[in-house]
């Protein structure tokens, strides 16, 4: 019971760790190039979730100062702002990798990494 309670209390951390592993598994085991990019995106999302969960305080409110009220607990706004930057970075990486995938499809005629490696070992490059 103790364990289940612990897990439920930290459900955000457990969830983000699970998502991280799912993403990593997708990147490493799938040979489809698009699925690799999707895996990368899942990993990125898991870290965003983790970061935002660190800053969350239960019962806290949006960090906008209301004049005249003293005893209000605010949510830590810094992780959320950092994640905004993180999202931009993730977007640019996705865009660049998708453009590379388009080029690769034009050159090799397939999206399968294993088939591309086969074509390479047949010595059709250069």
């Amino acid at each position: 019971m103790e364990l289940i309670k612990e897990l439920l209390d930290h459900i955000n951390y457990v969830g983000s760790a699970t998502l991280f592993v799912i993403g990593l598994y997708t990147v490493l085991t799938h040979s489809n190039l698009l699925k690799k990019v999707i895996g990368i995106n899942i990993m990125e999302t898991s870290i965003f979730l983790f970061f935002v969960s660190i800053g969350y305080i239960s019962g806290g409110i949006t960090p906008i100062i209301i004049p005249g009220s003293e005893d209000i607990i605010y949510v830590n706004p810094l992780p959320s702002t950092l994640i905004l930057t993180g999202i931009v970075v993730a977007l640019s990486i996705t865009a660049y990798s998708l453009s590379l995938i388009m080029r690769l499809y034009k050159e090799y005629g397939t999206l399968d990494m294993d088939k591309i490696m086969e074509l390479r070992s047949d010595g059709q490059d250069e």
Partner: protein, 495 residues
């Protein structure tokens, strides 16, 4: 103007010139070349002034907008970061000077200007990582660096390049995300992102949450090891470095991986501190990975037939030396590791540039066909020979001094078994570098007519190679020019 602003001015200069260049210029001509070179000239002058200023006045912190350490972004300009920024600027200026003629051979005309935009953003992000004193900032610069370093590979429109670039991008992103997860874990414990504040917080709490800190360091180490191609995580490097245009390979192998190693040193010594990292056995992990990398990189290099692939695997081995320097964690050990950052940057860029000259002139990548090449391309092959002898560790060249310092540090630290690893790695280096030198200068090419001719390559290419070759011998003969500065800086890391 106050000279504390110079580092940020250098970075802004590269950002502005890099981004505005494709907008204002349509054609790649002499005006464009002079804009690029004068940017480098101004940046080197400012960086040199900063370097002198730091050495006289002492290191300083630069706060953006005076926000203070806890809220704002901060740069730490100390002796080593100013020295590393000077190396980055000078070496990339030489490589860009070399590339003016070489890129015509490597890529389409319409891509020239965009190539230099990417190179300038690459230099911008390397300087950012070097100066930054804030882990999240380092992460953002790291992502810019991984995008741009993939960009300078895929700009050569061949299918091999797209594939190499894609694999590099995926592994690089895995590395960045791993590093980011490490930052998140450390932020969870400390509540800060600034390195100085983090260090203070960690010293208070590390005994309460050692698992968390060990996990965070593990994630960060894996991330940086993927990016700097330590042995089991090196799979992207041979393809990426060998298919890229030669100037890009020199930039990637000579400078980009070094920045990640410096980041590792920052994390081990500045964020955690020496005592905590030793209590958590982080130095042991680093040394073991480094030793395996030193041996395995050389063994893989022996089997290669393509010259640029061989040089790429040789980088894997050399990166082991620098990680070993961090792993020993004594003052001399760290100094030797830092010294090797400089010597390897010089030697590996010289090797890639001379290999580029051989490919430019003869279109030759296969090592077994190098017979008699020393008489056709005497300047390129001489520079290649100097650098290769330095890699093996012949006295008088800069590579010998870094091995010497490293061996001394290992013995003084009471770990003499690493001397065996260093000697074995040097011996393996000799196994794959010496045959090239012998076949180039001693064997005879049956088709050759003239006895000796001077390299028929553009002037910008051989002048840049001669400058690097001269620097290798200069710092080999007088290593104290560099070592004195490094020795002065190292105590700020260790204590």
């Amino acid at each position: 103007m106050n000279s504390i602003h110079y580092p940020i001015i250098i970075m802004l200069l590269f950002l502005i010139v890099g981004v505005s260049n494709p907008v204002i210029k349509k054609k790649f001509d002499n005006i464009e070349k002079s804009i690029l070179m004068s940017t480098f000239f101004v940046a080197i002058a400012l960086a040199f002034y900063t370097f002198l200023y730091v050495n006289i006045e002492g290191p300083f912190f630069y706060n953006f907008g005076n926000w203070g350490r806890k809220f704002g972004i901060e740069f730490a300009i100390d002796g080593f970061s100013s020295l590393l920024s000077l190396l980055i600027l000078i070496l990339s200026a030489i490589i860009v000077w070399y590339s003016f003629r070489d890129i015509g051979h490597e890529m389409d005309d319409e891509n020239f200007i965009s190539y230099y935009t990417i190179v300038f953003l690459l230099i911008f992000s390397m300087l950012g990582i070097t100066f930054s004193n804030d882990l999240f900032n380092i992460y953002v610069f790291m992502e810019i660096l991984s995008l741009t370093s993939c960009g300078i590979i895929s700009i050569k429109h061949k299918r091999v390049n797209f594939l190499a670039s894609f694999r590099y991008l995926i592994l690089n992103t895995l590395g960045s995300l791993s590093f980011f997860f490490g930052i998140a874990l450390l932020y969870m414990v400390t509540g800060h992102l600034n390195i100085v504040e983090m260090n203070i917080a960690i010293q208070e709490v590390w005994q309460v949450t050692p698992t968390n800190i060990l996990l965070a360091t593990g994630f960060m180490f894996i991330g940086l090891a993927i990016k700097s191609a330590l042995f089991p995580m090196h799979v992207w490097l041979p393809d990426a470095h060998s298919s890229a245009p030669s100037p890009s390979s020199a930039l990637l192998s000579g400078l980009v991986v070094k920045v990640y190693i410096f980041t590792m040193a920052k994390i081990v010594f500045n964020v955690l501190g020496k005592e905590i990292s030793q209590a958590l056995d982080i130095d042991l992990f680093l040394s073991i990975f480094a030793a395996i990398s030193m041996i395995m990189g050389s063994i893989f290099a022996i089997a290669q037939k393509d010259i640029k692939r061989m040089l790429a695997y040789s980088s894997v081995a050399q990166i082991g030396y620098m990680f070993l320097g961090i792993g020993i964690a004594t003052e001399l050990g760290l100094a030797a590791g830092f010294f090797h950052i400089f010597s390897h940057a010089l030697m590996k860029s010289a090797l890639f540039l001379s290999a580029g000259a051989i490919i430019y002139k003869k279109d030759l990548r296969d090592i077994s066909r190098f017979d008699g090449l020393g008489y056709e391309l005497p300047i390129s092959m001489s520079v290649f020979t100097i650098a290769a002898l330095g890699m093996i560790g012949i006295p008088g060249i800069v590579g010998f001094m870094s091995k010497f310092y490293l061996a001394e540090a290992v013995i003084l630290a009471g770990k003499p078994y690493y001397v065996v690893v260093i000697l074995l790695s040097s011996f393996l280096n000799a196994v794959y570098y010496l045959p090239i030198i012998i076949s180039a200068f001693i064997k005879k090419d049956p088709d050759r007519e003239k006895i000796l001719e001077i390299d028929d390559i553009p002037r910008s290419m051989y002048t840049s190679m001669i400058i690097i070759g001269f620097c290798m011998i200069l710092f080999g003969m007088f290593p104290n020019l560099l070592m004195n500065t490094i020795i002065n800086v190292v105590p700020t890391f260790i204590n």
